[in-house]
């Protein structure tokens, strides 16, 4: 049987060196299929570029540039303006940025580009930590999670002490044309949102919940399962917004207890029952509040 060849219509191909079972690689595979070849991708420093743009190993079938960590949205806005000025139009300019690059160091540029409504389709790969540099905690690390800079030791706080920064809500409140949350476990929802974002102009923002086996300490085979359980337990909310109006796109039928999601990952295995209850309460508070608003 001849060597199985990758389909030549794939824009993100094998040979990248992301870890086995990586959620980001899974998401990018589908993002590139949907965006197509009239696309420029821009990398914030992190796993994705480290795994696919080293010396002789460029695995994206579109032009790209490596950015710094601080300025994804501003850099992308410049590319978009430049392409317009040199007469190369209807190209999707897509920064593929990490959660730290988006929620922490790059938040100022993100907020300003959203406020200016720059013509950029901004993807935030949220694996809830600075994965490439060694799993340090970021603003989107969930409360209670142990990371290399929020370790669970003998004295409080045990793991991250503050709540996960709600990037989707913050960018929605900038009144951008389109924003959404997604995760590869719900592939249909994921593809619809990337397609809708591609067909919209102005500043669009998609925050993707990408499980990270190496960082969250679970076996790489369970990436899709964990992605689903995060939604089913209500820890990750699948929603979208247009000019500030939010819609939940997948309501978990009967919400699973958060414990079933947390116990799959060693980053949470230090949590006491009281701490798990605290997380459960926060999730309940959101969904109860939401249900009220709904009815």
């Amino acid at each position: 049987m001849k060597d199985p060849q990758p389909r030549d219509d794939k824009l993100f191909v094998q040979g990248h060196t992301m870890c086995p079972g990586c959620g980001v690689a899974l998401s990018v595979n589908h993002i590139m299929d949907i965006l197509g070849e009239d696309t420029v991708v821009l990398f914030s420093p992190g796993c994705l570029s480290a795994a696919s743009t080293i010396e002789d190993n460029y695995r994206f079938r579109v032009p790209s540039a490596h950015m710094g960590l601080v300025h994804s949205a501003a850099f992308a806005a410049g590319v978009s303006a430049g392409l317009e000025q040199v007469g190369v139009d209807d190209v999707t300019v897509a920064p593929l940025a990490g959660d730290g690059a988006t929620a922490d160091i790059g938040f100022q540029a993100l907020s300003a580009a959203a406020e200016r409504n720059d013509d950029v389709l901004y993807f935030c790969h949220d694996n809830e930590a600075y994965a490439n540099t060694g799993m340090q905690g970021s603003g989107t690390t969930p409360m209670g999670a142990a990371t290399s800079t929020t370790p669970a030791g003998r004295v409080a706080p045990y793991g991250k002490s503050s709540r996960k920064k709600d990037l989707f809500k913050l960018i929605t409140d900038h009144n951008v044309p389109y924003a959404a949350t997604a995760t590869p476990g719900y592939l249909g929802d994921f593809k619809e949102k990337v397609t809708k974002a591609k067909e919209t102009n102005g500043f669009r923002f998609i925050q993707i919940f990408d499980p990270c086996p190496e960082g969250w300490k679970f076996d790489g085979s369970r990436t899709v399962e964990i992605s689903k359980r995060a939604v089913q337990s209500g820890m990750w909310v699948l929603a979208e917004s247009e000019y500030g109006e939010i819609e939940i796109t997948r309501k978990p039928a009967d919400r699973e207890p958060v414990d079933e999601y947390l116990e799959l990952q060693d980053r949470f295995n230090h949590l006491s029952d009281a701490e798990v209850a605290q997380i459960q309460a926060a999730v309940d508070e959101f969904w109860d509040g939401y249900m009220e608003a709904e009815v």
């Binding site: 743009t53 032009p63 300025h71 303006a81 430049g82």
Partner: protein, 412 residues
């Protein structure tokens, strides 16, 4: 390189000049930038340069300049957006000063390492605190290692002309490096004087459009996907890449000379290329200057010459690339060389002095001295210049330097 440098702005020569108007340095710089037809402009307000951004915004709003103008949220993002734009092959412009330049510092290295010929006007301003918005040169000088070409203008006319020259130098295909045009905050940016504004046709003829062979746009159009600024580990090509970047800086010296010559032929004004010697040939002492205090230094030099005191002025225009060999050649017969700058590199002397002294190490018997003056916008008077020349002449007579770095105009 001796230039018949016009001390008084001449009447415009016929067909190349649109008009002569009385402009501030900021306005002159904005005209220079506009004439170069930048396609993306992104600048954040900061005294003393804000009027440049405002004037550019006016040009875009009036339709005089077809450019995408970002109302950007910070200097770091200003340079970041221009890096993105320049990567697509668009010509770009920004302006900043002091704290803004420091906030951009990460991106300065990104632009030069990316070989992106971005051009920036810097209205020099002190480094705070204590809080001070007035002019000195510690901001741009401290960014000398950022890989940017650094050109310094003496007055409003030179600010305009140098911005046009900067695009041609930066975009030369054997250079491809970003360039800063720096001029004194307030002493140039806010002082008005008659300025010749060349015609758009003449500048279009002098400055061919920016059309790089490699760009994100070209990669898209050719259907040839490639990665810019990819990752180069230690044993791969990083070291060689930086060597080539340094070579481009060396080649920029010839471009700076050539572009000034061609500019003179086209517009009737020559500024001297890398530097502009004034009464240096038989001088016993020479004062190396940078920026607007050059004008005052020349006036005092004339005054001393009339009293048969052999003094000269050497106006440094290119601080990076630094004209090391060329400087040593033109000053080799000058027994005493002073360097005056509005800057101090804490822990040593002024940074310009450090580079000049290094360039002159092999000229035996020569003595050098550094004068730090005008920090925080303190006026540099003719009296201060006299104090410097007197110190140099005394060194010339006694053969010894009392102090290598001397602060002039500061009350002890």
């Amino acid at each position: 390189m001796t230039a018949e440098q016009p001390r008084v702005t001449p009447e415009p020569t016929d067909e190349t000049a649109a008009e002569t108007r009385v402009l501030t340095g900021n306005e002159a710089a904005a005209h220079g930038a506009k004439l170069a037809r930048p396609e993306v402009v992104s600048a954040y307000p900061i005294t003393p340069q804000s009027a440049i951004s405002e004037t550019m915004a006016g040009f875009v709003a009036s339709g005089e300049l077809d450019a995408k103008l970002f109302r950007i949220e910070s200097e770091h993002s200003a340079m970041s957006s221009l890096i993105g734009a320049s990567l697509t092959g668009a010509r770009t412009f920004t302006a900043t000063a002091s704290n803004g330049l420091f906030y951009m510092a990460e991106m300065l290295h990104f632009a030069s390492g990316g070989r992106l010929p971005i051009v920036m006007a810097v209205a020099n301003r002190a480094a705070s605190p204590p809080w001070n918005v007035w002019g000195d040169q510690s901001d741009s000088l401290s960014q000398r290692d950022s890989g940017w070409i650094q050109l310094y203008a003496e007055n409003c006319q030179e600010a305009l002309d140098l911005l046009i020259q900067a695009y041609r130098i930066a975009e030369s295909d054997d250079v491809m490096l970003p360039a800063m045009v720096a001029f004194d905050g307030f002493q140039v940016s806010h002082i008005s004087e008659p300025v010749v504004i060349p015609s758009q046709e003449a500048v279009d003829d002098f400055l061919p459009p920016y059309d790089p062979e490699d760009s994100l746009a070209q990669s898209l159009v050719d259907g040839d996907p490639k990665a810019f600024h990819h990752i180069t580990p230690p044993e791969a090509s990083f070291f060689e890449y930086k060597y080539r970047q340094a070579q481009a800086g060396e080649r920029a010296k010839d471009r700076i000379e050539e572009v000034d010559r061609l500019f003179g032929e086209r517009f009737g004004r020559r500024w001297g290329g890398l530097f502009d010697p004034y009464r240096v040939d038989d001088a016993g002492v020479v004062l190396v200057t940078l920026g607007s205090l050059t004008t005052t230094a020349k006036a005092v030099a004339d005054e001393y010459r009339e009293k048969d005191l052999p003094v000269g002025v050497l106006k440094l225009r290119s601080f990076r690339p630094f004209p090391e060999d060329e400087l040593a050649t033109v000053l080799e017969d000058v027994p005493v060389v002073g360097v005056v700058e509005k800057d101090h590199s804490f822990g040593l002397t002024g940074s310009v002095y450090g580079d000049v002294a290094a360039a002159l190490t092999n000229v035996d018997g020569q003595l050098t001295q550094n004068f730090v003056t005008g920090l925080g916008g303190r006026e540099v008077t003719t009296e201060h210049i006299r104090e410097m020349y007197d110190a140099l002449l005394e060194t010339h007579d006694t053969g010894c330097v009392d102090r290598r770095s001397r602060w002039v105009g500061v009350s002890r």
